[in-house]
Amino acid sequence: MRCGDFKETYIEDEAIFQSLFVKFWLGLFFVFLLVFPFVASAYLLYVANMIGFAIIAAVGLNLLTGFTGQISLGHAAFVGVGAYTSAILVTRLGFSFWLSIPFAGLVSALAGLVIGIPSLRVKGLYLCIATLASQFIFEFIFIHWESMTNGITGIHIPPPRIGGFEFLTERNFYWITLFFVVLGVGYARNLVRTRMGRAFVAIRDRDLSAEIIGINLFRYKLSAFAISSFYAGVAGALWVTFLKVVTPDHFPFILSIQYLAMIIVGGLGSVLGSIFGAVFITLTPELLNYLSEVVKEYAPGHEEIFVPMKEVIFGLFIVLFLIFEPRGLAEIWHRIKNFFRLWPFSY
């Protein structure tokens, strides 16, 4: 029961974590995250890392699309820009992995700024097409700027290290991923509750009104693009370092769509939603894979039907979300919380 929770100061009322109860469960969850790598298998840790990269990229996209209302179909391209920046800095200029991360973010942000310029003139579907163009332009660059990117053979990346310690395995890399996820989520959550985040939402909800109260549309739309791409760049750099190789195949158009799916399923305009969405979209194919293994074992001969069904089921999930829960997993979470707030005496 969580009712009867009264606030006495403005500080208490402005806090993110509103009660001891919330802090307790969050603390418990954090302990779980810390213990997880010691008990989980390599495969589970691989999935956990992938979820981490997805969370960082999805939070970034949500800042742009969910909060500021600027639809982007080119998010994977910015992930790619960050990935290549980090790879090139590390392999050619001898940067350490740690230093290459902020640079990957910055170069990506710069690319985002340029791609964001049309957003000042065009909205909605037209902006969609403009960002779609960026996706294909960058894909083209990754493949054809061979002197820099090695074309389709890609670049091999050495594992990050501190002193003599190499982050070679999934288990070691988990700590790096966890660190950046916590940092990225914390930053986004704080950003959206202060001046800049509010301005983003104002632009999404009613841009004329936003201008009237003194919000510089030009500056804030571009900032949203830059910050969003920064996240994408960091996610990309981490991801390819984890994979130890970067090729143009890693950043297809379908990945951009997947990031969009994450924030739609998770909940547009919600940082928590981006986390849920990233977990859901990353886990579902893995679960379906597992299911198809089970089917193969217990009903041999049927896998020809089930394997293509995976894609169908995945698509079905997204359609069902759009119809029944357009505000995403975050809204479901909200309802569950509200239910237990007064449980067991709901009136």
């Binding site: 403005y10 402005e14 202060t194 509010r198 939402v201 909800d205 936003a210 003194g214 919000i215 510089n216």
Partner: protein, 267 residues
């Protein structure tokens, strides 16, 4: 002739859409601290005039002076920084945000936190947010009596309350001039009276100049210091409520030409 000292002055504003003349050489001015009403029949150009001040429309001719500075070529978002706030005829709130967030947005130009301090939050940004919250609660929410809805999402609120929230957002801008576009439209008698009282309070206690567009003649005649009457984009009268009430041109604009009125009555 002695020229009066205006805080906001419009000189020969002309605006047309294609062949339609929306405003024709309108000149007027508002003195500091007064409640200045703009009235006129539908389509007279009242809202157009406000839109020119906000720079949504760009008049073909004429200058707008605010505290002796020419603002006719400023960008809309800079106008807010100058101290000119506005509410709209059709409520233009951020529908998916809470009342509190809407009001906080009003204070945007007075806040300093950027993408770094905002993201870090603890320290400067937090101090700023808490001070802002305190200011909004004690100065604005208390005045406009919207305590009970502060955490609700705006689009679910009844129209009358939305109008009040919009006023609250404008007040959070700490304006020196407040443009109110039909603040009492669609309200019942009690709500209208409340709104009139708020406008008077704001004007007197905070010393904010108010430019008001309103169709409710009771309100306009009651609270205005001066009134400007527009008809088909032209200013036909300006003066104290008493003078306007008895101005022949104004009566004609509202009731139509005398002979037509009589012929209709006769038929």
């Amino acid at each position: 002739m002695n020229k009066p000292q205006y805080q906001l002055e419009l000189q020969d504003i002309q605006l047309s859409f294609g062949g339609l003349m929306a405003l024709h050489e309108v000149s007027t001015g508002v003195k500091k601290g007064e409640i200045f009403s703009i009235i006129g029949p539908n389509g007279a150009g009242k809202t157009c005039l406000l839109n020119c001040i906000n720079r949504f429309y760009h008049p073909e001719k004429g200058t707008i002076l605010f505290e002796n500075r020419d603002i006719s070529h400023m960008q809309p978002h800079k106008i807010a920084g100058m101290g000119i706030a506005r509410t709209f005829q059709n409520v233009e709130l951020f529908a998916h945000m809470t009342v509190l967030d809407n009001i906080k947005l009003g204070a945007h130009v007075h806040l300093k936190s950027g993408f770094l301090s905002g993201g870090i939050y603890y320290g400067r940004s937090r101090a700023e947010e808490i001070a802002l919250r305190k200011d909004i609660e004690e100065r604005i929410i208390d005045l406009l009596e919207i305590e009970q809805i502060r955490k609700q999402v705006v689009h679910a609120l009844p129209y009358g309350l939305q109008k009040r929230v919009e006023l609250a957002r404008a007040l959070a801008m700490r304006p020196r001039v407040l443009l109110l576009d039909e603040p009492a439209t669609g309200m019942n008698l009690e709500e209208t009276e409340d709104m009139a009282r708020f406008i008077l309070d704001i004007n007197e206690e905070w010393d904010i100049t108010i430019i008001l567009i309103e169709h409710d003649m009771g309100v306009v005649m009651d609270i205005s210091d001066r009134i400007c009457v527009l008809d088909f984009g032209e200013k036909i009268a300006e003066g104290k409520p008493e003078e306007i009430r008895h101005d022949e041109k104004v009566i004609k604009a509202y009731l139509g030409e005398e002979d037509i009125t009589y012929s209709r009555l006769g038929a």
